[in-house]
Amino acid sequence: MDTDELFGKMVDAGKGLAGGIWSDMETVALPELRKIALQIGELAKPGSPWSPEEAKLLLKMQTRSAVGIIVAMTALTMLAVQNAINAILDAVRNFVNGKLPFPLL
């Protein structure tokens, strides 16, 4: 049995996983974290229109949102992992079914 093709498909699934996660980091997480950091910086500037109590609540909101971005990235990463696992399962299934005299599925 020539397993090179199957190996290639498995590697492609892994490459897609890494590329997908990095793409999500670049397009979702990094820009949003930058915006949140900017807003935290604004709170510290003199002449802020917010009272100390309001500024404290805003800081809490910004910090929570930064954590939330990581939670969203986790969801996106899990989706990418799910897709990669399923791509590998598909490749194995096609390989096995094609090599055996009867279909397994």
């Binding site: 999500d24 397009t27 979702v28 997480a29 949003e32 915006k35 949140i36 900017l38 807003q39 935290i40 604004e42 709170l43 802020s48 229109p49 917010w50 009272s51 109590e53 309001e54 404290k56 609540l57 805003l58 800081l59 809490k60 909101m61 910004q62 910090t63 929570r64 949102s65 954590v67 939330g68 971005i69 990581i70 939670v71 969203a72 990235m73 986790t74 969801a75 996106l76 899990m78 989706l79 992992v81 799910q82 897709n83 696992i85 399923n86 399962l89 194995v92 299934r93 096995v96 079914n97 397994l104 599925l105």
Partner: protein, 184 residues
């Protein structure tokens, strides 16, 4: 020399493993795409953006006060409760891997006690449920800030604080998750 025979238990194991692997139609780690969640979230984002813009423009006027606008918060929190209920009904794992890690990481960071107390106790559930609960918490804080502002209403800076950061950032991230699920 007699040919080597493969032990029966290895053959059985290999066949069982192969059958198991191929029998699994697919693996699911995150809930399937839910159009109602996607639409509800996108609509709430548009409503919130429009609301903050109107409040900023009405600052210092009666129509910009918390009292005149508290229904928006009640409605939005209700919509978020519905989204949370739907996300909980769709749950797959019942937990988000980053929740525990984040709790451990925050233990090692020096944050003001008040901030740490709120952030350190992350909501439970699938990542989407956690995300929606965080958005809900943000809405409650925004409501409290609006209430504290009294007759002054929300200043121009509220737009960036609420829409560029905080609630806006969280909602865009949640929408990105829905879009990724839809594209799958």
């Amino acid at each position: 020399m007699a040919p080597r025979r493969i032990p029966a238990r290895f053959t059985a194991f290999f066949l069982s493993f192969t059958l198991l692997l191929t029998a699994c139609a697919s693996v699911r780690l995150v809930p399937a795409y839910d159009e109602q969640i996607d639409n509800g979230l996108t609509q709430l984002y548009a409503d919130t953006s429009g609301f903050v813009d109107r409040m900023v423009q009405s600052a210092g006027k009666p129509e910009g006060t918390f009292e005149q606008n508290k229904d928006f918060y009640t409605d939005s929190l209700g919509k978020l409760d519905a989204l949370i209920a739907r996300a909980e009904a769709n749950r797959v794992l019942g937990s988000c891997p980053s929740t525990k890690l984040m709790g451990a990481a925050l233990d090692q960071v020096s944050l003001p006690q008040e901030v740490r107390g709120q952030i350190g106790t992350l909501p439970q559930g699938d990542c989407e449920v956690v995300l929606f609960r965080m958005i809900r918490d943000d809405f409650q804080d925004m409501r409290e800030i609006h209430r504290l502002r009294g007759d002054k209403g929300l200043p121009l800076e509220a737009r960036d604080q609420f829409l560029s950061g905080s609630i806006g950032a969280l909602m865009r991230a949640a929408i990105a998750v829905e879009v990724a699920k839809r594209a799958k």
